[in-house]
């Protein structure tokens, strides 16, 4: 019954010649304004195999996937699919060639039901072209049941927690007859059980002769699932080897190009005893009774899976979002909740995780972006002293080595790392006591990453309390003096740098309740 889904067919979706590579990319290059994203990259996928694509953020993985998906077009190189030369000019072309990409940024329509999103690429219709809603619902329910998913197909997708949205996104790949499935960091918000489920699904795909490109930077996953690994670094192809030839160290060496300690230069001294930020019993729609302290000169790292409430906490403590209960004290003074003006006045500010939406004013020049928070400093009687302002920005441009052709460059034309530095200088020009950084290295290339780490270290060294929200384990362990773990809006663990281990942190992040509500029948 219901065997019309590719995943469960007895036969592969199409006649696949095992001898011919499913995908061959040769000499792929891509340039963006100011950035060379990819340079002469080769990639070959074999049918029925899992090929891992690895690299740090900014290595060029996302660009390569987007070229495969038809979102970007390469500037150089050729592509062959099952032995045929192809040109992929749009996502439509890509789908037609049997490529299905599962993006890390969830590509679902919030307003649609889960079932409809599963069939977004093509609604099943009857012979009159009328959408068969019954079939959509039953097929979706059937698919979920077989892969052991406890999600209501009729639920509005936007109302689901992020982890479930990601599972829906993965399930979508199964509803279509693809011969190449690309998964971009599919586990970034999944629980270990969900990850296991994902791997079961991947194995069933490869059994059908489908080629899987698995993009990740998590070593353990790659060792478990992949047959072959290709590593990219700074937009260049570094290595392609069977997984058996790799060790942890060799992979890291390939990915980072140096030893991990270099990434986290720690130069600051011990933290002061003065409490710069104290949060007591904070509750919002998503958070429940969160309490913690951060001392001057200390980095407090918050870890949690997607949807655990990290961003919500960040926004609540700087006064951006309303709270239900609790008190926030900045440097010993009570802060009015839901009022960023008071927050900034007391010296607490947020470096948002979403630079584009909440940080950058893309159309405005670099200097205006940098001086936004401290503009009043450069003004007399309401008039801005532009010379003084630009002079001040200039010192930060030099101090942070911000690469920009001029102060008047539109900030949207800068690379991610430089944008992040501009936003950091926005706060440093003002002079904060507490800075909350939310995923400070998202979408930033490796070189800039270590610079940002250096800056954070420097900030703490200068006496700021740094509250860091992150989902990157190395970042958390490398930078924090103390680690606090969130799960479903609650603090589930708090430990010192010395006590913290990856395992302890993950256990706390998954939490007992997490397991209960993500019940799967695999």
């Amino acid at each position: 019954m219901h065997d019309d889904l590719a995943l469960f067919a007895e036969e592969p979706p199409m006649a696949i010649d095992i001898a011919v590579p499913a995908l061959e990319m040769r000499g792929i290059g891509k340039r963006f304004p100011g950035v060379l994203a990819l340079e002469a990259v080769d990639l070959t996928l074999a049918p029925g195999k899992v090929h891992a694509l690895m690299g740090e953020n900014g290595a060029g993985k996302s660009t390569l996937i987007k070229i495969l998906a038809g979102v970007y077009q390469s500037d150089a190189g050729t592509m062959r699919i099952h032995g045929r030369d192809v040109a992929i000019k749009s996502p439509r072309d890509s789908l037609r060639q049997g490529i299905k990409v599962v993006f890390q940024e969830i590509a679902l329509i919030d307003e649609f039901s889960v079932a409809e999103n599963i069939f977004l690429e093509g609604h099943p219709t009857d012979r009159f072209g009328t959408i068969d809603w019954r079939k959509i619902r039953t097929d979706c329910a059937d698919l979920f049941e077989r892969i052991g998913f406890a999600i209501d197909p009729a639920a509005r997708t936007g109302s689901l927690p992020v982890s479930q949205q990601q599972m829906v996104e993965i399930a979508r790949a199964l509803a279509h007859q693809a011969s190449i499935v690309v998964m971009d960091e599919p586990t970034s918000s999944l629980t270990p059980k969900e990850v296991k489920l994902l791997f079961t699904i991947i194995r069933r795909l490869t059994a059908l002769g489908i080629a899987v490109l698995y993009v990740s930077h998590k070593l353990d996953e790659v060792f478990e699932i992949a047959d072959t690994v290709t590593v990219l670094r700074d937009g260049r192809h570094i290595s392609t080897r069977p997984i058996g030839e790799h060790t942890d160290d060799s992979l890291i060496q390939d990915m980072i190009g140096r030893r991990i300690v270099d990434l986290f230069p720690r130069q600051r001294g011990p933290a002061a005893s003065r409490v710069a930020l104290s949060v007591e019993g904070l509750s919002t729609r998503k958070l429940h009774d969160v309490s913690f302290e951060a001392r001057a000169g200390e980095v407090v790292g918050f870890f949690g899976l997607m949807g655990a409430g990290r961003t919500e906490l960040a926004k609540a403590i700087v006064g951006y979002d309303p709270i239900r209960a609790g008190t926030i004290m900045v440097d010993g003074q009570w802060m009015t909740p839901h009022n960023t003006a008071v927050g900034v006045g007391l010296g607490i500010g947020l470096l948002s995780e979403d630079r584009k939406v909440e940080g950058l004013m893309g159309e405005l020049p670099v200097y205006q972006n940098a001086s936004l928070a401290s503009l009043g400093r450069f003004a007399a009687h309401g008039f801005v002293d532009a010379g003084k302002e630009r002079q001040a920005v200039q010192t930060y441009v030099e101090r942070f080595r911000i690469k920009t052709p001029s102060l008047f460059q539109k900030v949207k034309n800068l690379s991610g790392g430089n944008q992040q530095k501009v936003l950091l200088s926005r706060w440093l020009m003002l002079g904060l006591k507490v800075i909350v950084v939310d995923e400070p290295t998202r979408g930033i290339d490796v070189g800039a990453k270590s610079e940002i780490f250096g800056l954070i270290d420097e900030l703490a060294g200068a006496g700021l309390a740094v509250v860091m929200m992150t989902s990157e384990m190395p970042e958390l362990l490398g930078l924090s003096d103390r680690v606090v773990v969130l799960c479903e809006g609650r603090v589930t663990a708090s430990m010192s740098r010395e006590e913290a281990t990856q395992e302890k942190i993950l256990n706390a992040a998954i939490g007992s309740q997490g397991r209960a509500s993500h019940e799967f029948r695999v």
Binding site: R96, V101, A107, I109, E111, E121, T125, T130, I131, P161
Partner: protein, 330 residues
């Protein structure tokens, strides 16, 4: 198989989903309005009056479908008022020359199609802001009609029975044909939006055009089609209006776009795209029509009608916003 849906956080029950819908709030408003006017205004609840209002509402209902479709796709079209006046010219001129309603309507549709294609081309393919393009088009069309007609109405000389029936005729002597047409078109497009892949693509494009593109949709072609649909439906409204006024009126449809936009937003169709339904739009139109009819029955002067309509629009849109904020929790 049992789904643990009710145990999951954030999955609202059917009932909560229902009352969270704007359509329900609008329906309650409409019913309240009907009850109020039935009590306070004589003759309001007569079959004749109700069917009259449905006939009057047909113009905004038909054009409102197009307006809603364009809104759902994430764009706007404010050239429809001028288009109402524009298409009546070829309709009446050709009909007067040929004595054929079919040829007249064809001519009107050709003009409407051309306008829709120009709007669609400029917005979807060239990538210009649709508000600006259709604002410009609004001026161009209105000015063009003034130029062509020398600011004089063109009378229907043919006097075809079929054309007159569009204005005076009633199905079973009860429901005006214009209302019948509106209901048929509403049903047809409600079907398209719900049961044709194209309809779902329109929602997807408006909901998140990047996601739609990744799903392989030709976003530009879909938006283009929406503009064409909007123009063609406004053409239908223009034809019915021409029948109701027995002529091509150069001043027809002034401020019509405001009425339709207001009714559409009132009915819960979001200006930001991807959200809303034709049912909601229709309820929005009916509220404004019954309001204006009821206020006329109460013998309130124009100025009060304007004030009350303005207040209702602001109130409805504010409530919508409050509700949305609560739903999204910011």
């Amino acid at each position: 198989m049992s789904f643990a849906s009710d145990r999951l956080e954030g999955a609202p029950s059917v009932w909560r989903r229902l009352i969270a819908r704007q359509e329900v709030a609008v329906l309650v408003c409409l019913l309240a309005l009907l009850v109020f006017f039935s009590v306070s205004a004589e003759n309001f609840l007569s079959t004749r009056n109700i069917t009259n209002v449905l006939g009057q509402a047909s113009l905004a209902l038909i054009a409102g479908i197009g307006c809603a479709v364009v809104f759902i796709s994430g764009e706007v079209d404010i050239s429809i008022g001028s288009l109402l006046a524009t298409v009546a010219v070829p309709l009446i001129v050709v009909m007067n020359d040929t004595n054929s309603l079919f040829l007249g309507i064809s001519a009107a549709l050709v003009v409407g199609l051309a306008v829709g294609m120009i709007n669609g081309f400029l917005c979807a393919y060239v990538g210009l802001n649709s508000l600006i393009v259709t604002l410009g088009m609004m001026f161009v069309l209105r000015g063009g009609v003034y130029l062509y007609t020398g600011q004089r109405a063109i009378a229907d000389e043919a006097g075809l029975d079929s054309f007159i029936a569009l204005s005076d005729g009633r199905l079973f002597d009860v429901l005006p044909y214009s209302a019948v047409i509106a209901i048929v078109l509403l049903a047809a497009f409600a079907y398209v939006l719900r049961y044709r892949p194209f309809g779902r693509q329109v929602y997807a494009v408006g909901g998140n055009s990047e996601v739609a593109r990744l799903a392989g949709y030709d976003v530009r072609r879909i938006k283009f089609a929406c503009f064409v649909i909007s123009s063609l439906l406004a053409t239908c409204s223009g034809i019915i209006l021409a029948a109701r006024v027995g002529s091509a009126q150069h001043i027809a449809g002034l401020n019509f776009e405001f009425q339709v936009v207001a009714a559409t937003v009132l009915g819960g169709v979001s200006l930001s795209g991807g959200i809303g339904s034709l049912g909601g739009m229709a309820l929005g139109v009916l509220i404004l029509q019954f309001l204006s009819n009821g206020l006329r029955s109460l013998d309130l002067p124009t100025e009060w009608q304007l004030v009350i309509t303005g207040l209702i629009i602001i109130a409805a849109v504010s409530l919508d916003e409050v509700k949305r904020r609560r739903a999204h929790g910011d």
